[in-house]
């Protein structure tokens, strides 16, 4: 491609280089006639290809399990009622229900826990592979000894709502789900975190707190873990989650609580 760009620039390939500093939007792309220059065209295709690959990549719980090396908790594999990716994409309702084997698995570990962590593929297995284990370890570092932690679950073909079933089966007061977000063109590896107090089937998004855009180029796992730990502490203190639980973690006086 360098041969192409080093040649005399066709008229219209100009660019507002100074303005690019102000936005990640695709401005100043130049043009050839009415169309996009070849390099810009291929850059877009590559971004879309990466985003699509993230959506369709098979979730490998083993990859995440390896990343959790040193975490002193049982780790369980569970699966939603959506049997494969095409079903998952068209039937969000099935992605919120556990399959029968998973109900049995979780039943064997039922107890009374403060929190259940769930690491789920969601719409980007890549995000979960790359950032979930690291983020979870960082969260655990922020929590004191006073938390009883349920076995960690790795959930395949999972929507956010699957955490409600998992939390209820395990007997957890709070669920913290790390799940791959719908990939944007320039953020194929973005992880989201959902906190839900009193998990049970039928919880709505208004009952949850969300921390979004967790990735090295967005909200870093380090910063995200701090925010999530803060929300967990407040959630347990207040006995709730959702719109009534405000994220004041950026206030330095509150973070120690």
């Amino acid at each position: 491609m360098s041969n192409l760009t080093n040649k005399k620039i066709p008229s219209g390939l100009d660019p507002w280089n100074t303005l690019r500093a102000h936005t990640d939007a695709r401005i100043g792309l130049g043009r050839v006639g009415d169309g996009l220059p070849t390099e810009r065209l291929l850059e877009f295709q590559m971004a879309h290809a990466r985003a699509r690959d993230s959506v369709h990549m098979a979730f490998e719980p083993g990859t995440v399990r390896a990343g959790l090396d040193g975490v002193d908790q049982p780790i369980l594999d569970v699966h939603s009622a959506a049997s494969d990716r095409p079903t998952y994409l068209q039937r969000p309702d099935l992605g919120r229900l556990l399959d029968a084997d998973s109900v049995t698995t979780l039943g064997k570990h039922a107890g009374c826990y403060d929190v259940a962590f769930i690491l789920a593929d969601g719409l980007s297995a890549r995000a979960t592979h790359d950032h979930a284990a690291k983020t979870l370890k960082l969260i655990l570092d922020h929590l004191g000894e006073s938390w009883s932690v349920a076995p960690i679950t790795l959930a395949t073909q999972s929507r956010v709502g699957l955490g409600d079933e998992i939390g209820a089966e395990l007997g957890a007061k709070l669920t913290v789900m790390l799940i791959g977000e719908r990939p944007g063109l320039s953020s194929a590896d973005s992880l989201g975190c959902y906190l839900t107090w009193g998990p049970k089937r039928g919880r709505s998004n208004a009952d949850r707190n969300c921390v979004s855009n967790i990735r090295p180029a967005g909200l870093t796992p380090e910063k995200a873990a701090k925010k999530i730990a803060y929300l967990m502490i407040e959630s347990r203190k207040m006995g709730l989650s959702g719109v009534a639980l405000k994220d004041n973690s950026s206030n330095p006086e509150l973070i120690e609580g």
Binding site: G12, A25, R31, G33, L89, Q90, D93, L185
Partner: protein, 463 residues
């Protein structure tokens, strides 16, 4: 209102109009998700045979949601213009399709007919139409609106310039506005989806656009796509509001889930009209819709996705909008699975809106988990251009970095105008010529080192 006799064709029966419409609808993911789709291809076509025999009058006596329970139904029935309906009042749905395709259905005839049509009649006939029928008839429906320029004239295509930024950064927004203007976009509206829905954020963004518009005298309108109640709030504080935005849907319950009532929309329209900021017209509302919105709010009332979408256009029509935008692929594959379903839905929405007399544009778009790509968008964009869609969307490089989806780009709009010989809104085209952005052949070929370009760049750099 009472339901009439059930419908049947060969061995298939359909208990009521709502079921018949759903089963006749072309296959799409949202109707499968809702459990409303036909269970076989044969049942689907049988439903179409049965639907073709239904008199249009039946739609006036059998409501899909009871009149008592739903204010959208009440609006549809109470506002129906029986005189306008008269020319087609004895037709069945099948007759109506035939008539629409004849030379008797002139642009004038269709314009006079629009107030006599209900959304259910229009949705019904669309289900009997192939894509080419949807294009051919829509092309005959001219819906012209105006504010600071005139949109929807034959031979013209407008573009909404969508300069979104994830944190509403003024310099970032300004950079995208400049990029769009230099590509000939922005005549439909310069419209920002704010990252934060607050009066303060809205006022700051409105002032940003208003300043550049006044400084270089751009004949276009601005909009910050906050909630209608936020717009009412800032209008009371003398903010420079041109257009009031709101997402709307086809049932009362769905509109309630958006936090709106018909009274709010009427109040906003009155307030914006009262500001008298339009120069060549006073259409002050901008609505967005999209198939699947009602189902995703669990407020579809058992109506199929395409019919309930069409009911939203009856809501839009009441408030004389400048622009109505169906954001066709934004909602995701559980409603429209792939490029084929998105394409069909875009053509249906445009046709149904135009036939009802609504100034339809389309956000030709998709998400990364849908089975679609830019080639699908090129196809739908071109088809909508042929159908004479009033406006499309322009996002830098087709990549909306705030809403995380792919729409159409400034380049795409240039392509479409070029291959179909379409011009920007006339007042805006004159301005583009003055700015040396359009050349003498009407092509977008900006003189980047000219004085006009330097003025724009200076504004943007200072923002």
């Amino acid at each position: 209102m009472q339901n009439g006799a059930p419908f049947s064709f060969e061995r298939f029966t359909f208990p009521d109009l709502k079921t018949l419409l759903a089963k006749a609808s072309p296959l799409r993911a949202g109707d499968l998700l809702a459990g409303l789709a036909a269970s076989s291809d044969e049942e689907r076509v049988a439903a179409r045979f049965a639907l073709a025999e239904v008199p249009l009058k039946r739609f006036l006596s059998e409501a899909l949601v009871p009149y008592e329970d739903d204010d959208v139904t009440r609006m549809i029935i109470d506002d129906h213009d029986a005189d306008a309906f008269e020319p087609v009042s004895s037709m069945t749905v099948g007759d109506f399709r035939n008539w629409l395709l004849t030379d008797d259905a002139t642009p004038e005839a269709l314009k006079h007919l629009a107030p006599g049509l209900t959304p259910e009649m229009v949705a019904a006939v669309s289900k009997l139409m192939r894509n080419q029928d949807l294009i051919a008839v829509a092309k005959k429906c001219h819906v012209v609106t105006a504010f600071r320029n005139t949109i929807g004239l034959p031979g013209h295509l407008a573009v909404r310039l969508q300069p979104n930024h994830p944190t509403d950064d003024p310099a970032g927004v300004a950079a995208s506005i400049l990029d769009g203007l230099m590509h000939g976009s922005g005549d439909a509206v310069i419209g920002i989806n704010p990252a934060t829905d607050s009066p303060e954020a809205m006022i700051e963004l409105l002032k940003l656009i208003d300043e550049v518009r006044e400084r270089i005298d751009i004949p276009t309108q601005s909009c910050v796509l906050a909630h209608v109640t936020t717009a009412i709030d800032v209008m009371a504080r003398d903010a420079p509001v041109d257009l009031v935005f709101q997402s709307i849907a086809g049932t009362q319950k769905a509109n309630e889930s958006f936090g709106i009532t018909q009274a709010m929309l009427a109040e906003a329209e009155d307030a914006a009209k009262g500001l008298k900021r339009g120069t060549v017209g006073n259409n002050v509302m901008y609505f967005e819709t999209g198939q699947g919105a009602a189902l995703s709010a669990d407020a579809h009332e058992g109506i199929d996705q395409q019919t309930v979408e069409t009911r939203a256009y009856a809501v839009a029509r009441k408030y004389s909008p400048l622009l109505v935008n169906t954001v066709v692929g934004f909602i995701g594959p559980e409603y429209l699975f792939d490029g084929k379903q998105i394409t069909r839905a875009g053509l249906e929405d445009h046709f149904c809106g135009k036939l009802l007399g609504v100034p339809m544009g389309c956000d030709v778009c998709y998400t990364n988990h849908a089975e679609a790509d830019q080639d699908d968008m090129d196809n739908l964009l071109t088809l909508l251009g042929v159908a004479r869609c009033n406006f499309v969307i322009g996002v830098p490089g087709a990549d909306d970095i705030m809403l995380n989806y792919q729409s159409t780009s400034f380049h795409d709009a240039m392509y479409l105008r070029s291959v179909l010989g379409l011009q920007p809104a006339p007042e805006f085209a004159a301005w583009l010529r003055k700015m040396e952005i359009l050349d003498q052949n009407g092509r977008t070929r900006p003189q980047l080192d000219g004085q006009a370009a330097q003025n724009l760049l200076a504004w943007s750099g200072a923002a």
